[in-house]
């Protein structure tokens, strides 16, 4: 889906845990996330800590949006 949306002229950031799949399938901007059942969360933390964690991950996505890329790039 990432590729088709990007083909339509929308810049896409793929936030996912299993980045090798994202790489194989061909996403261009990738942000690695925490775990499969909770990519943007961590149930071991308090609600406030989780929000912080989530905020930082989405910030990486914002950085990815603003970075020109020629090839597949993982924003760690």
């Amino acid at each position: 889906m990432v590729k088709e949306i990007e083909r339509a002229g929308v810049t896409v950031v793929h936030m996912c845990t299993v980045t090798p799949i994202s790489m194989t399938v061909g996403a261009n901007r990738i942000v690695p996330t925490i775990a499969i059942p909770h990519p943007l969360g961590n149930p071991a933390l308090t609600h406030e800590e989780e929000f912080e964690l989530r905020y930082k991950l989405v910030e990486k996505a914002l950085k990815a949006f603003q970075t020109p890329v020629d090839d597949q790039t993982i924003f760690d």
Binding site: M1, K3, C16, V18, G26, F65
Partner: protein, 348 residues
Amino acid sequence: MSFRVVHYINQFFAQIGGEEKADYAPEYREGAVGPGLALNTAFKGEAEIVGTVICGDSYFNENLDAAKATVLKMISDAKPDVVICGPAFNAGRYGVACGTVAAAVKDELGLPVVTGMYEENPGADMFKNKVYIIATKNNAAGMRQAAPKMAALALKLAKGEKVGASAEEGYMPNGLRVNFFEAERGSTRAVKMLLNKLAGKPYTTEFPMPSFDRVAPGPAITDLAHTTIALVTSGGIVPKGNPDHIESSSASKFGRYDISSFEDLTAADHETAHGGYDPVYANEDADRVLPVDVLRKMEKEGKIGGIYPYFFTTVGNGTAVASAKKYGEAIGKELRDAGIKAAILTST
């Protein structure tokens, strides 16, 4: 009543001549010629070659449009139920001619058609995903083995019967995976394959690795503060109760739901439909998969212009690439039409 078959062959198999006669113009003869006799025998009375179209390989390849048109007309005038081309074995121009004629018969005449050639014949790669190509040996000594397979597949197509897997029917894998039952169980086949691999003997993989296409990266966003971001997920986040019944696996659709009034997703209003991961965490707090709460804060802080009022969701569990492509196209179109330049897609 037996099926009517038209057979396409070259000047060599028609016993007209070799290279020196490769410029032979298309000719129609009644009944079977050369290898057509072997095919007739293989039909066992269920089908019969009513006519044969003969064309020199050089003539065909050098006068592609005209030759194709002439050949096609000869074939259609004979009113066949099914058409057979070749087999071409390893003869390159013949293989390309067979593939071209077969594809045209399928696309322009709408008739079932079978051809055959050796896997290294250039015509094979060009046409195996378009028409059924029976895999043959690399020279005419393979006729005895090729004719029955070509005849059998032609009969199946003429009868409208379901075509089995490539390994069962003998055609070259054409990009469509078909299930069938082997003689031995998978573990036994695997042990045999490993023993061959260890001994340096040849083995054939049951599944060649796939390749994925690429798309050019979208441009960097220069004014994020005034850019609206759209949210998409394959993690199956849906309004509580999954009102559109998106499937837990192999999703047949995607959902489009209003989040304009949500500052935060909670267990009261959202859940996951995805059957491929432990749902507990996403059901407790869907922001863990679709970060609405964080994006709302960033909107208030002026870091982003806003969030697109609808989010798109489907279940990525066992959902085929072709399906995902369709949903991506539809979502991409809506976003493009709405002037959206950026999207975050989350996956589980």
